[in-house]
């Protein structure tokens, strides 16, 4: 279920940040959901409690959503992840469970609702194994308090997280698909 390759790459992943205040994050996320062409998304929080709270907010906003975090029993986690992988839900909120990166091709959008503190965590959340030549976008919601972590992660990974543009080019993250494909996931 997880990528067993040690090599993770940011190649093919377009990285953006949106600057927000803490209390604006849910509003920002709601706008992203309405603007983006999400096939499947994974949304990361920095604590298990925030995972559950955010999943509740997302459900209240009318979007389908599963959540998993490290305090759930392994069998429960496996079932949720299996169902998500099989396309039963469009969005998954989670903490840092994917220690070797996400290996789900259908996930074309990753959102850091909370920005990680470590470059290794950022890479595990956003990075992909090189073998699929995966394309996708990663959007980090950053607050003023995150400025040191953003600086350090960019420096350590030798990458640049760009400000989110007014329009995001779908060719950066949306695979060509049929109309039938587009309807396979719940909203």
């Amino acid at each position: 279920e997880i990528n067993l390759m040690n090599e993770l790459t940011l190649k093919g992943i377009t990285q953006y940040y949106a600057f927000v205040q803490e209390k604006q994050k849910v509003h920002c996320l709601n706008t992203l959901f309405s603007k983006l062409q999400i096939n499947q998304s994974i949304i990361f929080c920095n604590s298990t409690q925030r995972v559950e709270l955010l999943a509740k907010k997302i459900t209240e906003l009318g979007y389908s959503c599963y959540y998993i975090h490290s305090k759930m029993r392994q069998e429960h986690r496996n079932r949720v992840f299996h169902d998500f992988r099989n396309g039963l839900c469009r969005n998954l909120v989670c903490s840092d469970l994917f220690t070797r990166g996400i290996d789900i091709q259908a996930v074309n959008v990753v959102i850091n609702f909370d920005f990680p503190k470590l470059s290794e965590t950022y890479l595990h959340r956003i990075g992909r194994s090189g073998r699929f030549g995966h394309y996708g976008i990663a959007i980090s919601l950053i607050t003023y308090d995150d400025r040191y972590a953003v600086h350090q992660i960019e420096r350590e990974l030798g990458t640049e997280i760009q400000p989110i543009p007014r329009q995001i080019d779908p060719s950066l993250y949306v695979a060509k698909q049929t109309a039938d494909d587009d309807n396979q996931y719940p909203r």
């Binding site: 959901f33 400025r147 600086h151």
Partner: protein, 55 residues
């Protein structure tokens, strides 16, 4: 530059929301303008040069 209003402790245990969370028109541009990345990075690099560690 907008200062953070919630403490790290509060941030870790709850999710604050603004009144307009249901609105789907978050103003990205106006918010981005509040974060001068270049200036902030210059400040951080200067602090690092002075031996400060913020992480």
């Amino acid at each position: 530059i907008v200062e953070q209003t919630s403490s790290p402790e509060k941030r870790s245990t709850q999710i604050d929301v603004s009144d307009n969370q249901d609105d789907k028109h978050f103003d990205f541009e106006t918010n981005l303008a509040l974060f001068d990345k270049q200036a902030i990075y210059a400040e951080i690099e200067s602090a690092i040069g002075n031996g400060e560690n913020h992480l």
